[in-house]
Symmetry: C2
Subunit: 291 residues, 2 copies
């Protein structure tokens, strides 16, 4: 019943400031963490087994597990039963430049053969593939409603694409879930008798689908959040529990000010990184727009 902080409700548990022997699990945690940070344990290396560590430190297996659980939560190691064991995690990031409009008009739908995300990933040596994983009419979740400035629950079309990367014989990995949300009336618009936004396959139009439908997106509002994945996302992205995800939302606004669509991209923090490149205006460009 008392007033808690509205940013974070917690006062997290913290070790007392007075000098006190560290918790046992923390000794193990610190030791392993140091070995990883200092490169004595490298990505891909096996971490000693729980039993080894237990006998080595003289602690119980449960205590060792606490330390390992924390390392896993920190994204430093992975776990797998059997002979997989625990390993020091790799972190290889595919980057995505969100301000490179040069290569043909930017669009979320492939205009050339590849879109901007694929182009960036390929430039770093990744093979890419993307598939449309469903076009569905759904009630707008609160967040999407906020992006499109409509009432929560409004019917929208969600077009989900899954973006995979792979490299030299390495099994393909899902790098990103890309959901495009569009108002129903726009999604139903047709060109030559077909509604491209409702196609279950990867539709390609020169200049992008929205442009072909008559919308020129002149302004983008991007928003980036950091959070833990929902169970659905964790399953789709196939990430370990404890891997954070980034969420990038791009709202496209046309010349009349209408919010034409929002592209919500969710990606695992250990696989993807975002880039922006900005030219700084000389002075104050127009002094205009201040919301």
């Amino acid at each position: 019943m008392q007033a808690f902080c509205t940013i974070c409700t917690d006062k997290p548990w913290r070790r007392p400031r007075v000098a006190r022997s560290r918790a046992r699990w923390e000794v193990v945690y610190d030791d392993l963490r140091t070995q990883i940070d200092q490169g004595k344990l490298n990505p891909g290396d096996r971490v000693p087994t729980e039993i080894d560590l237990a006998s080595q430190y003289g602690f119980s297996r449960a205590t060792i597990r606490s330390a390992l659980a924390r390392l896993e939560q920190d994204g430093l190691i992975t776990a797998g039963a059997g002979s997989l064991g625990r390993q020091v995690r790799r972190r290889e990031l595919v980057s995505w430049n969100l301000t490179r409009f040069e290569l043909g008009a930017y669009s979320d739908d492939p205009t050339n053969r590849v879109d901007q995300w694929e182009s960036d990933a390929q430039a770093e040596g990744w093979s890419t593939r993307q598939v449309v994983a469903g076009v569905t009419e759904l009630a707008a979740p609160d967040e999407v409603a906020r992006y499109l400035d409509c009432a929560p629950g409004t019917r929208l079309i969600r077009r989900r694409r899954l973006r995979y990367v792979s490299r030299q014989g390495i099994p393909e990995q899902l790098a990103m879930i890309a959901d495009t949300w569009t108002p129903v009336d726009i999604a139903r618009m047709e060109i030559d008798g077909v509604a491209p936004l409702l196609q279950e396959t990867n539709v390609v139009y020169p200049g992008g689908i929205y442009r072909a439908l008559g919308f020129r997106q002149v302004h983008y509002k991007d928003e980036i959040q950091v959070r833990m994945p929902t169970p659905d996302e964790a399953a789709l992205l196939d990430v370990q529990p404890g891997t954070p995800v980034g969420q990038h939302a791009r709202v496209g606004i046309d010349s009349t000010g209408r919010r034409v669509r929002v592209l919500v991209s969710t990606f695992a923090g250990d696989r993807q990184l975002l880039r922006y490149e900005l030219d700084v205006p000389e002075r104050r460009p127009t002094q205009a727009e201040e919301e």
Copy 2:
């Protein structure tokens, strides 16, 4: 000795595909997660105690703790000994617009009274405060060296600022760690006999410190990553274990192409969000720059 995936070394543990009774902890986890998702448990609400849940489900306390640990890891609840107990977590995000250069030239150092971050936070009703928490000469970590395109280990000056937010009687929270890394020769440059970048206090120059030193940053390269905090960051930001952080790096490049500085901002995912607003060029603006 076998080839593991180079993106993520793991094959995460997964429940067998065959229909099998869920793990006990998972039953509890799903129940509580559903209650939170459906709003039966709201942010700030107390979660039933471990003992209550144990007797309610007829499971051991350790099993209940596994479920609660997972919820905590997912960022959904917080924990604290004693009468704090566990609560459903709040998530209130301060937003930061990284493309609003209009209000006076953008700079990481306050040019007017407030910089862009403070201006954004204040527009949302937060009170802000920032302090310089140290100016130190350090060897460039690998990542910073990459940003500044110098050799790892190069001596650099790190100027650390801590950015706090608070609201109506709510205790102040650290929202962001903002580290500006500058080559030593630039950091030592003086104006009227003093080197502003070495000042331990919040120095204010109209147009920004770098501009006053003669550098006009004409181009920014931004990079955004998502990861788990280091123990240091977790302690500084005072976040629960399991809270992800975002890392925003902005490299400032002057008209000669020199990388003048990099501002590395680390923030807790449950407190901060990033925004960009972009105008889409009509065609292909110059066709130039392609790295």
